[in-house]
Amino acid sequence: MPGIFVLGTIENGIPSRSTLELLTGAQRLAAGLHEDVCVGLLGPGDASSLYGYGVEVIYRVAHPLLKEYQADIYLMALERIAQTAGARVLLLSGDSLGRDLAARLAFRLKAGIVTDVIEIDIEGSEKMPRFTRPAYGGKAAAVIVPKHFPVVVTLKPRTLDPAAPAGKPKGKEVPVEISLDPAQARTRMVERVQEETTGVKLEDARAVVSGGRGLGGPEGFTPLVELARVLKGAVGASRAATDAGWVPSSMQVGQTGKTVSPDLYIAVGISGATQHVAGISGAKTIVAINADPEAPIFKVAHLGIVGDYKAILPPLIAKCRELMGS
């Protein structure tokens, strides 16, 4: 029965955070369009906890070739599951898998596609789903409507709240068969490198201290690391700093980096280009420290200090240390 499809992942019997964010969107669509929610899973594992979130059906492909991600193999499995489910709206996370596969899935399903969605609602009597997404680097907001179903939708990670349990846990699981051949994998992964992050994860941190081109070089990050540690937060970077190779790209905050929504975001030596600002729109309080009083960051920050970060950070770290008693 046509419905709302979510591509989910389960970790140790618990739905991942991104799955819960997708389920929030799914629940909203299901309520407005009077459809059911189903979840697709690529791989084994106890998924019964999903029923507690209003999921009617779980479609699962469990094939040994799905153990490690490979785009062609995953896409074929995803296509099969999507065809089986026959949903009208398919929700995927806008993570690295979604970036790879969502548009290709839409092509194979002859579906429409909307990406980077930050808000979902239903329009009045027409019961038309509306998807809001940033445009022009976040300078504008666009509302996209499908003219055609099915439609594949990717959600911007860390934007919708994770779903709350809803309704009585009931549902069924439908296994989906597929024959996959390793020769169908046209690329293969040779190596995976996890860039080391000590302490809090950037996307989860309540406080983030970020550095940009104004730091002058990788050594400039030293006081930022200390300040982040004192605030029990994480260190981020602008694209200028990661493109220059000063810090690993996994620290990049921005349009093509990570989206963060901490209580406190301190931007040090960051000019405030739109693509960086796109990654911090959810931050509650933004503080900017920059020597250039005309830097665009001062147009988005709540509090600003024009000056040399080398003179500002040491007293700031000392005062924070006092406060936090560490």
């Binding site: 785009a71 690295s96 970036r99 596969l101 969502a102 548009a103 290709r104 092509f107 194979r108 429409g112 596609i113 909307v114 980077d116 509306r130 940033p134 445009a135 022009y136 680097g137 504008a140 907001a141 666009a142 996209i144 499908p146 003219k147 055609h148 439609v151 046209r186 690329t187 293969r188 992964m189 040779v190 995976r192 860039e195 406080a207 694209r239 790209s249 349009q255 093509t256 209580d263 406190l264 739109t274 509650k284 309080t285 900017a288 009083p293 665009p296 001062f298 147009k299 988005v300 920050a301 709540h302 509090l303 600003g304 024009v306 000056g307 007293p315 700031l316 005062k319 924070c320 406060l323």
Partner: protein, 265 residues
């Protein structure tokens, strides 16, 4: 190795926000005579192509599907070092979505001659849909790896550094491949030299219509769009930044007070 780079011409995304205006009716940014540039990640893709050509030989072609003004974007590609360029432009294609564009680009690429590698920017600097690249790979029926920062050619095969949330992965595959390119210290786009700009200005760049490419105009353009922009608005951003005065010690003290007031610490 034959490389094709797809570029999109857009209004300069680095314009100050104060000059950004939208046309509520057409639901697009107002051009207002602002400068037109190659979408930034497409320039990174061009740089990757040119670097590969310098290291392993071969040719680089640059192609764009859009308005006639995109000719200047293609000329810049030639000035940077591309060997040939082609523009796909036809009123019938105006307003095409990613699916329509990808079909047109696929035909154009095939007309140029089947490449070993197709490169696109990971996302455009205006709408950042991230769809044309992967859909083009489907239309060409070649594998796709997205968000690639670096590419190397080794014994006729390609190795790519794909950026993911926790770090990166190294992928490898045989041509033909389509890659969407992310910015990286190794692919900062080169400035075209003045003499190359002068030489490129004398080159001819063909413009291909839908008919030239054998593309059915019926399946293209606004009519064939699978989604549409219903509304485009400027979010009101009224946050006034409070600049803190005094010597660093004073500024820091005021900052801490205000952060506590805002419950940020």
């Amino acid at each position: 190795m034959r490389i094709v780079v797809c570029v999109k011409q857009i209004i300069d995304p680095e314009l100050p926000a104060s000059q950004f205006r939208i046309d509520a009716e057409s639901r697009r940014q107002r051009p207002n005579g602002h400068p037109l540039v190659i979408s930034p990640y497409d320039e990174n893709a061009l740089e990757v192509a040119l670097t590969l050509k310098e290291k392993t030989g071969g040719t680089v072609a640059v192609v764009s599907a859009g308005e006639p003004s995109a000719i200047s974007a293609l000329r810049k590609g030639l000035a940077m070092g591309a060997d040939e360029a082609a523009l796909i432009s036809d009123p019938a294609l105006a307003g095409s979505d990613a699916f329509g564009l990808a079909v047109a680009l696929a035909r154009g690429i095939q007309k140029l001659g089947t490449p070993d590698l197709v490169l696109c920017g990971c996302e455009s600097g205006d709408w950042a849909d991230r769809t044309v690249g992967p859909i083009l790979a489907e239309a060409l029926n070649i594998p796709c790896v997205s968000f690639v920062a670096q590419v190397e050619a080794q014994d006729g095969r390609l190795r790519m550094r794909r950026v993911v949330e926790e770090g990166y992965e190294i992928w490898e595959g045989a041509p033909p491949l389509l890659l969407t390119i992310l910015s990286h210290e190794s692919n900062v786009p080169r400035y075209p030299k003045v003499r190359d700009i002068m030489t490129a200005s004398r080159r001819s760049i063909p413009t291909w219509s839908a008919a030239d490419l054998g593309v059915e105009a019926g399946g293209m353009g606004k009519a064939a769009m699978r989604t549409e922009v219903q509304q485009l608005t400027l979010p009101s951003r009224e946050s006034r930044c409070e600049l803190l005065d005094g010597e660093p010690a004073q500024q820091v003290a005021t900052l801490i007070t205000k952060l506590r007031e805002r419950k940020a610490i």
